[in-house]
Symmetry: C2
């Protein structure tokens, strides 16, 4: 698990191989096993496999060129009326998105998290493109496919980001 | 990995056994391998092992009684000046928080995610308690310890939460 967490990288070039439905379902299942505030599970997922929709995504989102080769996309949405309190949908959808990336990695599928929230113009454009209900907002978009690029594992552990019991405090053992 | 994702449950009763420093470091490393918008890594982590601080947490947060038995806590914070755009720290800290829960599970450590954002009164109280810098805000608090309770795996896969290419659309194979 720790290995999969460390090996996950944003993949932006994919092979022509399509992801099978069983694996897509496993990834969606992982998403729905994310924790959510008061267990409200306020999420919806739109699976994208239509090339015409991928083309429209690339017209709307400035960093979405990887959809030229992606096998699938998953749009992670939150229902503002289903969430526990005003704003918890962001935490819930964040956890679900991360589960999608890790589940994909564990199935040897490459992924790239495209930011939608908090960019209001992207949220609006996607809401329109996918015909979302009034109370549903887009949190993130994930591109999925089999990687056609290799990326090294960078060093991301920075002990200076950790304090003990109080801001600015350190312990010798850290 | 999918198994760990499915088996993770919120644990609120812990044994007296303390988590070793090596495992805490592994969990923090997993947190820092979360993706972040434009790779800004705008997070900070405060590890809590002082009983006096845990007591104060229980005075501030209404759902934190598990700190009576928790071995450690991790406060996940975001630096608003380090984030990529106004609001991305929420997605970044959400992914880091989920990595903490999953890394803990993979090490047989129980965890519970306590919501802080978007509860302004909790954010303010924790900011004061931990003496955070002006530009740093609290996203979440995680209680950690060895589980003293067993929880069954619920069914959380709901196919009705999935659409194909457009809101409300289904495909037979889903």
């Amino acid at each position: 698990m720790l290995d999969i967490i460390k090996k996950r990288r944003s993949i932006r070039k994919f092979t022509a191989e399509k992801i099978g439905q069983e694996k897509i379902n496993a990834i969606l299942e992982a998403a729905m096993y994310a924790p959510s505030a008061a267990n409200k599970q306020p999420w919806y997922f739109i699976v994208i496999d239509e090339p015409s929709i991928m083309k429209k995504i690339m017209e709307v989102h400035p960093h979405s060129r990887m959809f030229e080769t992606a096998s699938h996309g998953i749009l992670v949405c939150g229902d503002l009326n289903l969430q526990h309190g005003d704003g918890y949908w962001l935490a819930d959808c964040g956890a679900a998105t991360q589960n999608i990336l890790l589940a994909a990695s564990s199935l040897s599928i490459g992924s790239c998290w495209l930011g939608v929230f908090p960019r209001v113009e992207r949220m609006k454009a996607f809401k329109e493109l996918f015909g979302l209900s009034q109370q549903v907002e887009v949190f993130s978009l994930i591109a999925l496919g089999y990687a056609a690029e290799n990326k090294a594992i960078p060093e991301r552990y920075h002990p200076e980001k950790v304090f003990m019991n109080k801001w600015g405090h350190k312990k010798n053992e850290l």
